[in-house]
Symmetry: C2
Subunit: 431 residues, 2 copies
């Protein structure tokens, strides 16, 4: 019966702003960072790992927020925790004094997510299963118990969720086999960073197609003329059949978004991502209506299930992009999966950053096996950065995420990476 | 030419959870707290004060967030700052790495607000004016320059704001005279805390009417039967002509809110406050429609101008309740005042807590004099707690907020109060 005996947080930063990888219209100089949490136990070799992805300044604050909430896990018996992960997650989110600092948004909410995800890592490692498999093996009733339905019952009730999951249980085994054999389709943002020259972008776009990707994404939103030229070049490079999406990273006001997108010319866009502020449910709905048949994708900065609920109620999006570390962890993300499944909206996770690919793939795989099932538009973002620091790195074959077989939830980094990139004392910062 | 030479933050907490003052359906045991900021200058006696109101745990984290942003003020010349308060506020909100931790919400956004408000305190003290007067004396063009219109131009553009302010400038002088003579109407929540017995509530409600209040507010949302009984008693105590509002502090899901409110019986409610989650624009709109003619008030937990914009676009509220320390300070609150004025919605500030009355009254007074003008439903919350710790405490006469004549923005506390209630080392915590 292992027990959580303590925790530590580490401010890990990668100096990515020294290059231009990861640059976009809103985030000019990100240092990809992780506010990294380790839950320690009294069983040798067993620990739980979670992280919040940030882009530099404030990563120390994010660690401090995790420090304030990680105590909820200390002293807990891991077997008992495994049986009560719903109540555990709710206790973190509902801390009545901390709640004032959100509620359920920003630094404190992401901190809750890191602690919850670290607990999931611990629980799934203790069960010797990868998280996607651990979750897929739960019964519909056990899955319902994980979710905080507060504030979303006007879209989905626990009873409706149970019914949906029971229907999805049919065919679960064959989908699991399919997943293990074929993985899930990935898409790539690698060619599309704003810092790249046209030549580099075209070369990387062609390479992506050669690698088997059927969707590539381009950053946009700084210059309309540049966007028109780059999209035309990209479309020529990838041919008519590969899907092409764009990502504005929140740079536009609503009227500007509509005019800009409708001026891009006929390059057959699959989606426009983050056209405006992530809180703007009404704005996203207005944009979606005005740019149809081009569709809207959003979510990496959506603060919680309440905003996603409204986006689904208001036809604000056609692709729901969950993020592994923005919300209150696996549990709140299951709420998103259930709401999207009820309305038949595909969940297409945001990834990249530090460890987001490693973490969010588990949720996409669980969604495929046990919640949303087959969907022709299901796809998971892939960015080929920083995977070498993770103990169980993503495995992409023929442009598909292959299912991890090793236990855990994906966030564990090599101790040497954590030490070398600790800010500001690690050797990569001192050297 | 004074200059900002440094800053300090202090974790100030009042042990209010030892009593039941301030208890409501969501916040059972608040310790009213302030993450308190002092901007220091090289001019003897001149300093700027700002604070974020929290309810206990996490106040240290809120101080740490302020520490990360207060550096933006250090080294600035106060005269120069006074001329560029719009750009100063935008630079804090748009820090491209810190923005990832919101954007514009939670601990980091409130920290920006504290720094911006402390700068306003400094600037208005340097000009020897109370903030309401300082702002009211600005020209329409100067006021427009203060506001970040990003993400709200679909509701109001800078040009529309300028036109609105120029129209409001007519009659400004006579409204200022009226303000100085009569103040602004206050309402009281003092009788309505959930922890009080029926007898105490009735006694305090009668006292409030005797004191001249024409609107009192009751907490509700824990027990429908209790609410029905308490509201009936309150209505009997105050008579038919005094307005009666209720406040649920976000305790309901949307369907529950509608059923609950429509079951309260005919007590002629003026408004229902915070019926559900503050992010739920769509939910508030559904509730507002279903409970008419009872109207919805909300705002103390609204994270930013983008959520308020949508609430105004969606008829989610009939009373807009700005909060002095929830958003990015005076500047973002001016955005709210402008949006509300454009739609003719009254701004009825949230107050109470620590220093909220002292700070937010300036915004209500500026709104009355220079933005929204006369409105029959304008009213400012008043709670009679903790004013003794403030250097310029609120002055209520005949249930009206009298305009402060001393310079500053209201947040400055006595040094002895700050020292005694510093957590956890002050004498009120050690003793």
């Amino acid at each position: 019966m292992p027990k959580v005996t303590g925790f530590k947080t580490v401010d890990v930063r990668f100096p990515t702003s020294r290059g231009l990888d990861g640059s976009d219209a809103m985030n000019q100089d990100p240092d990809y960072s992780a506010a990294y949490l380790v839950l320690e136990t009294d069983e040798p070799g067993l620990s739980g790992h979670g992280l919040v992805f940030t882009i530099g300044r404030g990563n120390d604050l994010q660690c401090a927020a995790i420090d304030l909430l990680a105590g909820y896990a200390v002293g807990r018996d891991v077997d008992d925790l495994a049986k009560t992960m719903g109540a555990f997650a709710r206790s973190l989110v509902r801390d009545s004094q901390m709640r004032w600092l959100g509620p359920e948004k920003g630094v404190t909410h992401m901190a809750a997510g890191a602690v919850i995800n670290a607990a999931w890592d611990l629980v799934s490692k203790h069960a010797k299963k990868p998280l996607w498999k651990y979750l897929s093996d739960l019964s519909p009733a056990e899955i319902v118990e994980l979710v905080d339905f507060r504030y979303i019952t006007d879209l989905i009730t626990p009873a409706q969720a149970l019914e949906l999951l029971e229907k999805a249980a049919v065919g679960k085994e064959s989908r699991e086999k399919e997943l293990v054999r074929d993985g899930l389709p990935a898409y790539t943002t690698t060619p599309g960073w704003l810092g790249y020259t046209d030549e580099k972008m075209v070369r990387l776009a062609k390479q992506a197609v050669a690698d088997g990707f059927t969707l590539i994404k381009m950053k946009c939103g700084v210059s309309l003329e540049d966007d028109k030229r780059r999209l035309k070049l990209a479309r020529e490079a990838i041919g008519p059949d590969v899907r092409l999406a764009i990502d504005a990273n929140q740079v536009w006001d609503v009227p500007v978004a509509i005019e800009w997108i409708n001026s891009l010319g006929d390059v057959n866009l699959h989606w426009v991502e983050e056209p405006t502020n992530p809180d703007d449910v009404v704005g996203h709905a207005a944009i979606a209506k005005a740019i149809a048949p081009v569709r809207v994708a959003t979510g990496e900065h959506v603060a919680n299930r309440v905003i996603f609920k409204q986006m689904l109620q208001s036809n604000s999006l056609s692709f729901l992009q969950i993020d592994a570390s923005r919300v209150a962890g696996v549990n709140e993300n299951i709420a998103m999966l259930l709401m999207a499944a009820k309305l038949g909206i595909p969940v297409c996770p945001h990834a990249g950053g530090v460890g987001l690919c490693e973490m969010v793939q588990h949720l996409a795989m669980f969604d495929f096996v046990a919640v949303g099932g087959e969907h022709p538009d299901r796809v998971v973002e892939f960015v080929d950065h920083l995977h070498e620091h993770f103990v169980v790195p993503t495995k992409i074959e023929r442009a598909r995420y292959m299912a991890p077989s090793l236990p855990g939830a994906g966030a564990e980094m090599f101790e040497k990476s954590v030490a070398d990139y600790t800010y500001p004392t690690g050797k990569e910062w001192v050297g």
